[in-house]
């Protein structure tokens, strides 16, 4: 990653435009970070001040919105729901997806290419196209507004995503390690469990993070297949804060900050891995 490309480019002729470049980058960074800053500031500002005279600097800081969020709003419930749904989906997809990815990356059989094409095609699926039958299906199974009723639909995008990304990253693990294990006497199962799996742990983690983020952020299915606060996920809960009468911006922003914090932390922490995971499967020049 730390390629010398940069050095070349830098040494090269960009010098003249260097300041323009830096300026543009700073503007972009401001553009990127400002909404977060503003959300944090606003979530700590009393409602009354918020609507009278918006100011970039916080004048009076209160924690009321956060207290209300976890008190009256019971924001813990959607967080718990999101964790359960996203967590279960991720774990299940990893379990099933690892097997599939192993087969697609390592085994040689007819139909592999069509399967990969099929999986890629499914990732391009418009979710809305299957909302109606999923709804009817879940309803007939009495799964509307239940955890399985969300986990199942989540598979539609999480499973192809997992398989696709994992296949890409398993392909990058040198094959001769498993071959060496075979020659050393390991069966396929042993080479899988003792060699490939330990080596694939970082890839699994990356894929897991990606899948989790996608599930955590999912909205359409969660909106369509949950009905009440008991099973709503974080995005749905936030979107529907706009209650009977009011738009409680303070609480909405507090919720936004709370919902953003874990993914932001994950992203900052695993930035490099996420980038690799995102681009590994996606682009091959």
């Amino acid at each position: 990653m730390e390629s010398g490309a940069s050095r070349v480019a830098q040494r090269g002729q960009f010098r003249a435009g260097k300041w323009i470049f830096a300026g543009a980058l700073v503007v972009l960074m401001l553009f990127t970070l400002f909404p977060f800053y503003w959300a944090i500031v606003a979530s700590l500002t009393p409602d009354a001040a918020l609507f009278r005279n918006p100011s970039l600097w916080p004048h009076q800081i209160i924690g009321d919105h956060y207290r209300a969020l976890f008190g009256d709003r019971d924001f813990i419930t959607p967080i718990r729901n999101s964790l359960i749904v996203a967590g279960t989906t991720t774990i299940f997809c990893l379990a099933v997806g690892t097997l599939a990815a192993y087969a697609l990356a390592r085994l040689d059989f007819k139909g592999k290419a069509p399967i990969m094409a099929f999986i890629l095609a499914v990732t391009m699926f418009p979710q809305i196209s299957i909302v109606s039958p999923l709804y009817l299906l879940l309803r007939s199974l009495h799964l509307i507004d239940t955890y399985p009723g969300l986990i199942m639909p989540y598979m539609t995008f999480a499973m192809p995503l997992t398989v696709w990304v994992l296949t890409g990253s398993i392909r990058q693990i040198p094959r001769d390690l498993e071959e060496a294990a075979h020659v050393d006497g390991a069966t396929r199962r042993q080479s899988f469990t003792k060699i490939l799996l330990p080596l694939a742990v970082p890839s699994l983690a990356t894929t897991g993070i990606l899948t989790f983020i996608y599930c955590w952020n999912e909205f359409l299915f969660a909106l369509s297949f949950t009905l009440g606060p008991e099973r709503q996920t974080v995005p749905v809960a936030i979107a529907l804060f706009r209650g009977q009468y009011q738009v409680p911006w303070g609480e909405i922003l507090a919720a936004a900050v709370v919902a953003t914090a874990p993914v932001a932390a994950m992203v900052l922490f695993f930035q490099r891995r996420i980038v690799q995971g995102l681009t590994a499967g996606a682009v091959k020049g």
């Binding site: 001769d176 071959e179 060496a180 050393d184």
Partner: protein, 373 residues
């Protein structure tokens, strides 16, 4: 220890690429057989077929007397050293060494003993608790070797094990391998693209080209009696010179006539027609006298590579062809100099221009025990 034999083995990939064609080859018990060939010759595939990492399309593979054609690698009881060592990065050296024994559920004590012994013999004692990432290239190489040895397999397979080492280490390891082979008396099959490595290491050498075995022979035999033009050109460095020409017969005397060269050659009953005359650089003598006549060539020196104890001289012939000769350090030859080259009669090889097959045989009576097609 056991022999490894391929009997009429074919290997064709689904995309149509043929890696082995009707290949019969045997590494005899205790022998170090080197498979050599340019890239794409199928030599690595042959090794992987032996290991069981690839399946044959047709034919039979035996290890010892056992037919292993359909056995997966883990049931063949052979060991393999990979080009980039394939050390398990998540395991320590000790665990790497013990892996094969653990898999076979050997008793703890036995494992410890054997790992200890092998580590000692390869000088790995101090490194046992390191991970592969903490080792130098040479150390990794030795761990890979140790991992093969520790299992006491029926045979060893080496897939270009020295190609990732620097020149000096490569020579040292080569010697080490030779010593190891003698000590273990094990059957070894060794793949390399480097003919000099092949010549120095192999009891016998098998030359492959495009999936077809060209010749199997001892190093000397291969060098002196290459079975065809390909082998002749591949073995030996710098490579053999070839001159295109016609072989004519005049009674008992035969004569080669090329563009610039006319020289008498020993006759063969069947010989005649278009041929290549092959001469190793060692057998071209550079003189600055103006000798003419049979066995001489005129040319202009292009490049001279001084090698210390000798010099390699690239000569451009009038027809634009080039010849390479090895000359003693003295006298100094300089680029642009016009020279005469003399062909030494004892170093002549003749190959059929169409089939490339060797068509002359010289006085020394070496008959290949086995040879390719």
């Amino acid at each position: 220890m056991a022999r490894i034999a391929l009997e009429h083995v074919d290997k064709t990939y689904p995309n149509g690429y043929v890696a082995a064609r009707d290949l019969s080859l045997e590494a005899m018990d205790g022998e170090l057989l080197v498979l050599v060939g340019p890239s794409g010759s199928g030599k690595s595939t042959v090794l992987r077929l032996m290991a069981g990492l690839e399946r044959v399309s047709d034919g039979v593979i035996r290890i010892g007397e056992r037919d292993v054609t359909d056995l997966p690698p883990q049931q063949r009881d052979i060991a393999m050293v990979f080009q980039n060592y394939a050390l398990y990065p998540h395991m320590t050296v000790r665990e790497n060494l013990a892996f094969g024994l653990n898999i076979r559920k050997q008793p703890r004590a036995l494992i410890d003993e054997r790992v200890g012994a092998v580590a000692a013999s390869l000088g790995l004692d101090a490194l046992l608790d390191r991970k592969p990432a903490q080792l130098s290239g040479g150390q990794r190489q030795r761990v890979a070797l140790g991992r093969a040895i520790v299992r006491e397999p029926l045979a060893f397979l080496f897939d270009e094990p020295l190609s990732n080492l620097d020149a000096q280490l490569r020579v040292e390891t080569r010697v080490e391998l030779s010593r190891l082979h003698r000590k273990l008396g094990a059957t070894m099959v060794y793949v390399t693209h480097d003919q000099s490595e092949a010549l120095t290491l192999g009891d016998r050498i098998a030359v492959l080209k495009e999936g077809v075995l060209q010749q199997v022979a001892t190093p000397m035999e291969l060098y002196d009696q290459p079975a065809n033009k390909f082998v002749a050109g591949f073995i030996g460095s710098p490579a053999m010179n070839f001159f295109k020409g016609v072989l004519t017969r005049d009674g008992d005397a035969c004569e080669f006539r090329g563009v610039d060269l006319v020289t008498p050659v020993p006759c063969e009953p069947t010989s005649g027609g278009a041929v290549f005359l092959g001469v190793r650089p060692q057998h071209l003598e550079i003189t600055s006298d103006n000798a003419t006549g049979e066995g001489t060539l005129k040319g202009e020196v292009g490049v001279v590579e001084p090698m210390g104890n000798e010099q390699i001289v690239y000569v451009t012939l009038p027809g634009g062809e080039r010849a390479v000769a090895i000359a003693p350090v003295r006298p100094r030859i300089t680029a642009g100099e016009r020279v005469t080259i003399r062909v030494r009669p004892e170093g002549l090889h003749l190959f059929d221009a169409i089939s490339g097959r060797r068509i002359t045989r010289f006085d020394w009576p070496l008959t290949p025990k086995r040879s390719g097609h």
